[in-house]
């Protein structure tokens, strides 16, 4: 589904991703862990098409298409979804309001008829239940005055609405209490099936108790330096990242 080959990306003069490789197949959940500054958020941003980053080398193929060639909106229309680490506030735009436009533009791109108001509302109701989110919140200005938990639930709600093929969760667990974490994880698990895939970017193992990964990758200094089964996350939780740094930097030296 997703194939990242030797990806290099910079912001300004600074190279952040330094030859990253990753293969994601349908039905898989990949966790990407790593210390601060390793490039985790850069990877999410580059995949979603944020223009601040310049890709200097490498390829990213998604469902047979060159992902890097596509605009941010076309990536979304092809089925890529990014749950933002810091969902931004947009005064005057409600979730309901922009999601309807989003869904219909995506449908148009795929050659489908637009959803009528009733079908849209029914879809909303069904998805609202799955992430335990209130209608009132969705009618308010996007993320304005939302708690941290509400913002993240809103991200997962949007993901549920758009039903992406590949969802990237960028530190969706940061700032969440255990109840909010369960709700968010529950939303993801309901969505999971053999045709879609998830990349869960996280700093902590905690989230992975609820969203169980098939693979855990350690991102350090712009590259994936270690991959393993879900137990690797527990090891990282227990031992921290220093042993990885030593391993990598030691080899380099």
């Amino acid at each position: 589904m997703l194939s990242i080959n030797n990806l290099r990306a910079s912001i300004g003069e600074k190279e952040i991703l330094k030859g990253l490789n990753l293969e994601v197949k349908p039905g898989e959940v990949h966790a990407i862990m790593g210390p601060n500054g390793a490039g985790k958020s850069t990877l999410s941003s580059v995949l979603a098409g944020r223009s601040d980053y310049e890709v200097t080398a490498g390829e990213v193929t998604f469902m047979g298409k060159d992902l890097l060639e596509l605009s941010a909106e076309d990536r979304a229309r092809e089925g890529v979804f990014l749950a933002f680490q810091y969902p931004i506030e947009i005064p005057g735009v409600s979730t309901t309001n922009f999601l309807k436009t989003a869904i219909n533009e995506i449908r148009k791109y795929r050659g489908q008829d637009p959803l009528d108001a009733v079908s849209f509302l029914n879809l909303m109701k069904q998805k609202m239940k799955s992430v335990n989110i209130d209608q009132a919140l969705l009618s308010r200005s996007l993320n304005e005055g939302f708690s941290g938990g509400e913002k993240k639930r809103n991200e997962v709600f949007q993901m549920a609405m758009l039903e992406p093929k590949l969802a990237i969760l960028d530190e969706t667990d940061s700032g969440l209490d255990i109840d909010a974490l369960r709700i968010v994880a529950n939303g993801v698990n309901q969505l999971k099936n053999e045709n879609n895939a998830f990349i869960v970017v996280t700093h902590y193992q905690r989230l992975l108790d609820y969203i169980v990964p098939d693979f855990v990758h350690v991102l350090y200094n712009g590259r994936i330096v270690k991959s393993g089964p879900k137990e690797l996350a527990l090891e990282l939780e227990a031992k921290g990242y220093d042993w990885i740094k030593e391993e990598v930097d030691g080899v380099k030296a």
Binding site: G49, E73, R77, F81, G92, V93, F98, T101, A102
Partner: protein, 438 residues
């Protein structure tokens, strides 16, 4: 006949009276000479005048126009400007500055509302007119007011008697019929709202045809004790339309004046909205949205003069500027020595959608009292890149994302429109406009 404004200035008022067959009504005639003298003395302002620095009307003032041309427009032609679901309304229509009885309808009972063309009002309400007309807008200092006063004939006269709340909105349509000639038109309006009385006035400015038009509109508004007037303006003229629109508002004890000025079109539009809070516990609310495009210019000059204590004013103007357009905001707040316990707030926010658009903004606050709460400020910038990326990452095209954000930016001005039919009319116009722009 054809003339340009300079011809008028160089002429003699006696000659003009004859040539333009101006009314010999004594109330009009009384001020005519003085106003004309003042016009000649002042001359029409150019960009050399501080208050007109960014507002270049030279293309408009040098051109020759036809005056008071006849029109063949019917209600069918004007249907395109209808506000859906507005319901019954008192409608006054002026085409090229001339009152059109056949395109006007009055539905409110005469006990609730007196409304007529200015000319007719002179005969019906001579005392009210002689006491109020030309008394608020200063023709000795303002050239366009002087021009309006000297040649005054047509316009809207409204009187809401004490204690009456006019239920149906008052809709005034100013139409430029420029299908065959360039036209110059004036309207001189007087709105009187009595003690404990209330009314809503909606003004529409539209163009039919491709020729040039120049409108000089002066409206004097006097609110008595505890009166409430809500004044909406929709200016959506063609790019070949020029307009100077002066509104002078006098507020007496506990009265409230609220204005929402939405300017979507016009080649050069200059609005002067001046309020004098002349008694205690009055309130002025001035809101505006201006969206120039192409090569057009929209200039909003406002004055809020806090003359007395315990008054409130709120002002918010928002600009959305595309292409090579120019926006001007100049907001003056005066808080006079006696005006203790004043609350005065003013803000101008502008979004520049193009690198070639320009905003000139000047919020001014002059305070002579010491126990007041005042704030003013201006911001300008581009659309938030982060917000654009967020929406695009959800599948919205760049264009949809932009128009959604602009729409959201404009929302808090539209929220000030309490007439639901007008509000959805404006929402539709703005949405259409955003969807046709790149």
């Amino acid at each position: 006949m054809k003339f340009d404004l300079q011809d008028i200035l160089n002429s003699d008022i006696k000659v003009l009276e004859k040539e333009l067959s101006l009314s010999d009504n004594s109330i009009l005639a009384e001020h005519r000479n003085q106003a004309f003298e003042s016009l000649q003395k002042l001359g029409l302002p150019t960009t050399k005048h501080e208050d007109w620095k960014y507002c270049n009307l030279s293309t408009a003032t040098k051109k020759s126009y036809s005056l008071a041309t006849e029109t063949s427009l019917t209600n069918t032609d004007l249907a395109q400007f209808n506000i859906a679901d507005l319901g019954e309304a008192n409608i006054l229509t002026f085409v090229n500055g001339v009152y059109q009885a056949s395109l006007s309808t009055i539905v409110s009972p005469s006990t609730e509302l007196t409304i007529s063309n200015l000319k007719d009002a002179l005969a019906i309400e001579p005392n009210l007119l002689s006491n109020n007309l030309f008394k608020y807008a200063n023709y000795e200092t303002d050239a366009y007011t002087a021009l309006s006063t000297a040649l005054a004939e047509n316009g809207t006269f409204i009187n809401v008697p004490n204690g009456k709340a006019v239920e149906k909105p008052i809709l005034i349509r100013y139409i430029s019929d420029v299908r065959s000639v360039d036209t110059f038109a004036q309207a001189r309006n007087l709105f009187l709202v009595g003690k404990n009385a209330q009314a809503t006035v909606i003004e529409l400015y539209h163009t039919i045809g491709a020729h040039q038009s120049f409108n000089n509109i002066v409206t004097e508004i006097a609110l008595s004790e505890n009166a409430i007037l809500t004044n909406y303006k929709l200016q959506d003229e063609s790019n070949a339309a020029y307009q100077v629109n002066t509104t002078q508002v006098n507020l007496l004890k506990e009265s409230v004046y609220s204005a929402v000025t939405i300017t979507l079109g016009g080649g050069v539009v200059r609005n002067n909205l001046n309020t004098v809070l002349n008694a205690e516990r009055t309130e002025a609310n001035l809101y505006g949205l201006f969206m120039p495009q192409g090569e057009t210019l929209i200039d909003n000059h406002t004055i809020v003069d806090h003359a007395m204590p315990n008054c409130n004013s709120n002002e918010l103007y928002k600009g959305v500027l595309s292409d090579n357009s120019t926006g001007v905001f100049n907001g003056k707040i005066f808080v006079r020595k006696d005006a203790q316990k004043t609350n005065a707030f003013q803000s101008n926010k502008t979004i520049l959608l193009s690198d070639n658009a320009t905003i000139n903004t000047k919020p001014q606050l002059e305070i002579f009292a010491d126990d007041v709460k005042c704030s003013h400020g201006a911001t300008s910038g581009q659309l938030d890149e982060e917000a654009l990326f967020y929406l695009r990452s959800r599948g919205l095209s760049e264009k949809s994302a932009k128009s959604l954000l602009v729409y959201a930016f404009a929302t808090d001005i539209l929220e000030k429109v309490n007439n639901e039919a007008l509000k959805s009319h404006l929402e539709k116009l703005i949405a259409t406009r955003l969807n046709t722009e790149a």
